[in-house]
């Protein structure tokens, strides 16, 4: 094998990988006419390495699904049109009021952005009384840089449209929950100084580079406790000094964190008794760190964040939050302070014109959650770097640069604002999303001083107060919806989404970072041996999982780490997310569902 030629190396300014909020610096060099290498000849890559996802950024630059031209699409197919003409059409559509006038909705700010919503109120009734539905709306991907997001907000204001920022529900919930708690925060690099670490979630799998500093801490203090609350089949659990595996019902992780403080573990099962000992082990530590990961689609992430903040305050710990969107923290704060509405509100209204920037809603949330609404949109305009399931619905497609092809700034976490350069410039003729917004009428600020000052330094997301009731108490009052307990015979398994890097496949702007082909990403169902035997399945055999939203074929991983009656399935596949059949009024994105498993 021969390494790529090192001649004709083109160095670019430092960029950041925002595929998670570790935010590794990344560089790239050109190793041929169409080959880019995620590398830096001058030094080793990244902070302390670079995970596979970061390496994949290079793969996206010349991806065959890259959008390079504007297209007008009808049922008969798509036809390329000039970018200027497409911009004009998009601007006209956004200005079009249609039958539904825009109301004073934007000023209320009373709708919670995310978190465990009050699922009892139909979404069609959630709008403020007396307001009419809006005619136009904008949904922006939360991993865009902050100034681009601010420009989206300004465009929405100027054309009288509602706007929303898409951040994975788990990330948004975690940010809200933690921001409300007033915790002391640290970045992953500070973990090296900890003398004890509590990890909530499978952090090593979802944030491999963050694991570096945990290993550094253990190298300095070999006997330090590393307590892990996560799925026992995950790699993080392999390195724990003590593990607690929450059941897959919604809210279990938050309740378990609360139980560390209260010692009340009866409702969590007999194995939760270990939690009662954790508080004593952690209390004596001088530099305790709590790592909490927004695992993909934790439906209870907000409650989890609230409980982690409470625990940190009690134990004097510092919190290291890990989000799957690198820019999630800034996006959520900006959305809250700049009048954005929850994405479900926009979907409930089904506006006449919808501009979607960068996010594949169908793959991220599942077709049941977004399909009915998007089917009603008359003018669906998609602006983004790649073709995806949402862009295929669009009547107008605009090519746009990847977020890592522009310079910008992001808030990786509290106090972790970063400025970054482009990895490479976008292809000729492909505008940045900020340029598209300016062309559509956003009052672009050339100096990049977006009107978003003030929120970067504070930890106050405006509407976070509702999360202050301890989750354990809410549970007792029966106000929090929970998934079912052990099912009756024939009801199927309780299946929850899981994320691990092996099965990382497709999705929206961020999740489109696929693994190299050689890995052959495929969805896997991790289930108990006894359940597999009952269904006539064997380890590594094939099975079909039938859920509320459809069915999906998976590979079976039978073992002892999953509890009987419960299973986890790789969630990074669009068809898997469809299978869950998540909706806004029923099972919200991230919640486990009952599903039947049968042999292929």
């Amino acid at each position: 094998m021969c390494s790529e030629p090192s001649a004709a190396v083109v160095e670019t300014p430092a960029a950041r990988c925002l595929l998670c909020n570790v935010g590794c610096p990344v560089r790239i060099r050109k190793g041929g006419p169409d080959r880019y290498l995620p590398d830096s000849p001058a030094r080793d890559a990244g902070y302390a390495g670079l995970c596979g996802r970061g390496s994949v950024l290079a793969d996206l630059l010349d991806h065959p699904d890259r959008l390079l031209n504007a297209s007008r699409c009808t049922a008969g197919g798509c036809q390329e049109i000039g970018l200027a003409a497409a911009m004009q059409e998009a601007a006209a559509a956004l200005e079009e009021k249609g039958a539904a006038p825009v109301s004073g909705f934007m000023e209320t700010g009373a709708v919670p952005f995310s978190g465990r919503a009050k699922g009892t109120v139909p979404f069609s009734q959630r709008r403020e009384k007396g307001t009419a539905p809006f005619a136009a709306a904008i949904i922006a991907d939360g991993n865009l840089d902050l100034d681009t997001l601010a420009a989206a907000g300004r465009l929405a204001a100027s054309v009288g449209a509602a706007w929303s920022v898409f951040v994975p529900p788990s990330d948004a919930g975690l940010v809200h929950g933690l921001d409300a708690g007033g915790s002391a925060f640290i970045g992953p690099e500070d973990l090296a100084d900890a003398d004890a670490i509590l990890i909530v979630g499978n952090a090593y799998a979802t944030h491999p580079v963050a694991a570096h500093w945990v290993f550094e801490a253990r190298k300095a203090r070999p006997r330090m406790p590393v307590l892990v609350m996560a799925d026992a089949s995950g790699v993080t659990a392999d390195y724990a000094t003590s593990v607690f595996q929450p059941r897959l019902r919604s809210g279990e992780a938050a309740c378990a964190v609360a139980a560390i403080l209260t010692g009340q573990t009866d409702a969590l099962g007999p194995e939760a008794r270990t939690l009662a000992t954790w508080r004593d082990r952690l209390r004596g530590c001088k530099s305790l760190a709590i790592v909490v990961g927004a695992e993909l689609d934790y439906a209870d992430a907000r409650a989890l964040g609230t409980e982690v903040a409470r625990l940190a305050a009690e134990l004097g710990a510092k919190v290291c939050p890990l989000t799957t969107y690198g820019a999630a923290w800034g996006a959520v704060r900006l959305a809250a302070s700049a009048g954005a509405v929850p994405i479900e509100t926009i979907l409930a209204e089904a506006p006449r014109t919808l501009l979607v920037m960068g996010v594949d809603l169908d793959s991220s949330l599942g077709r049941a959650a977004v399909g009915p609404a998007l089917d009603k949109v008359v003018n669906l305009i998609y602006a983004g770097p790649m073709v995806n399931r949402t862009s295929r619905r669009a009547s107008l497609m605009l090519p746009a640069a990847f977020p890592f092809e522009v310079a910008g700034r992001a808030l990786l976490g509290p106090g972790r604002e970063v400025r970054f350069g482009p990895l490479l410039r976008p292809p000729a003729g492909v505008p940045t999303i900020r340029e598209i917004l300016a062309a559509l009428g956003s009052s672009a600020d050339e100096k990049g001083a977006a009107p978003v000052s003030g929120f970067m330094e504070t930890g106050a997301v405006p509407f976070s107060a509702k999360g202050t009731v301890p989750f354990s108490q809410r549970r007792e009052k029966g106000t929090a919806p929970f998934a079912d307990g052990p099912g009756a015979p024939g009801e199927g398994l309780l299946v929850a989404p899981a994320q691990d890097p092996f099965h990382f496949a497709d999705g929206n702007l961020t999740r489109s970072a696929a693994w190299p082909q050689i890995v052959r990403p495929r969805p896997v169902l991790a289930m108990a041996e006894i359940d597999a035997q009952a269904a006539g399945l064997v380890d590594r055999g094939r099975a079909v999982v039938e859920g509320p939203g459809g069915s999906v074929e998976v590979e079976v991983a039978a073992g002892s780490t999953q509890r009987p009656g419960q299973a986890r399935i790789s969630a990074a596949f669009a068809e898997v997310r469809d299978m869950f059949g998540w909706t806004w009024d029923g099972r919200r994105p991230g919640e486990p569902v009952r599903a039947r498993v049968r042999k292929v």
């Binding site: 390496s55 570096h212 290993f215």
Partner: protein, 167 residues
């Protein structure tokens, strides 16, 4: 075989610290992109863990002995590499390797083979897999350097805190 820019013997080898590998496959991705979308590194499932395996750069390599096209060569520095234009993808080296480090899955009719990242080696840098490894599980070092850190070297290429006790 790639043109060599130094003839100094390469004493260092890629070592795997069993107590640090989190199976993230960063090494595989880095190798894949650094070598024209062919990876010379593979993973072996040992049950409790899925571990990366890399060519040991043998001093008397069987793959070189059996290669009918003379594509496999061991250069003066001790690096066993494959000439991309000479490899026919016959798979003889794959069958000959006593450690199973070569894969019969051909990419472009060629067998993938670790060359310790020739371009980086020439600049005095570690191979890509070791450079990107987030936890430091893959190391580019000599056995003496590893043992100097108080770690145990097992079988020449495997490293651990303790010869028996794992994790």
């Amino acid at each position: 075989m790639p043109e060599t820019t130094t003839t100094a013997a390469v004493e260092k080898r890629i070592m795997l610290d069993l107590d640090r590998c989190i199976e993230c496959k960063s090494c595989m991705a880095a190798c894949y992109y650094g070598h024209g979308r062919i990876t010379g590194l593979s993973f072996v499932d040992i049950g409790p863990a899925l571990l990366p395996v890399v060519c040991r750069q043998c001093s008397a390599p069987a793959c070189v002995e059996v290669c009918p096209a003379k594509a496999m060569k061991r250069d003066a520095r001790g690096v066993v590499a494959r000439g991309i234009f000479m490899c026919r993808g016959c798979g003889s080296c794959v069958r000959a390797c006593p450690f199973g480090m070569l894969s019969l899955e051909l990419a472009g009719h060629q067998v993938a083979k670790c060359d310790l990242c020739e371009d980086r080696l020439a600049q005095g840098l570690a191979p890509r897999c070791a450079a990107v490894c987030p936890t430091g599980a893959l190391r580019f070092a000599t056995a003496a350097e590893i043992e100097g850190e108080g770690l145990v070297v097992l079988g020449g290429r495997i490293v651990g805190d303790h010869p028996i006790q794992r994790r």
